[in-house]
Amino acid sequence: MPLLQLFDSSVLIPWLRTRHYDALVTTAFASRRFLLSTVVGMELYAGTRSRGDKQDLDRMVRALTEVGRVVSPEPEDFYTAGQMVAMYTRRYGQIVLRDHAQDILIALGAWRARAELFTVNQQDMERWQGLLRRTGKRVTIRAVEA
């Protein structure tokens, strides 16, 4: 079974806004490998500016949900996210949880679904990839050029 592909909002917001990364994302749909994270979905809903956009996002989410292509954080993932921030703070200095919680939850979603995680924010995601690896959670990051 080919790996599923999870795109974070650094890819999907420009894709929906200006068709950036169109070939990459459209291919994921065509090959039926596209996986949506509810955390990314939340960020997409925040970007809707019209009733039409909201309704179409509803349709997109509903269609993907019906075929099981939506991944959502488990309760344990929130605790893990807090631990990742604590681990980072102990090693490298203070950071703010709310600035990073979504990225960590998205990375954990990719780990749960054994999906490749596509992001423009390679540096941020690789930080969490490294710390998650220390807890036995391997995430594959695919860097997308901005």
Binding site: M1, W15, R17, F29, A30, R49, G52, D56, E66
Partner: protein, 65 residues
């Protein structure tokens, strides 16, 4: 994330048995009918999801202030 139950009917289809077996293995289904149903469901769902996304792109209002 359960799939929605749909009405099903019997249809006689001419299919390549090797490809059908390959599809069943790929989708990890317990029988050939389930494999075909899942392939159809997935294809239609992804098509619907992509079309909805493309309408958002064409509207040109997403994430614009």
């Amino acid at each position: 994330m359960a799939r929605h139950p749909h009405r099903v009917v019997k249809k006689t289809l001419r299919l390549d048995p090797d490809k059908l077996a390959q599809l069943q293995r790929l989708l990890q289904t317990t029988n050939a009918s389930e494999a075909v149903r899942q392939a159809i469901d997935d294809t239609l769902a992804y098509s619907e999801a992509l079309q909805a996304a493309q309408r958002i792109q064409r509207r040109g209002t997403f994430a614009r202030d």
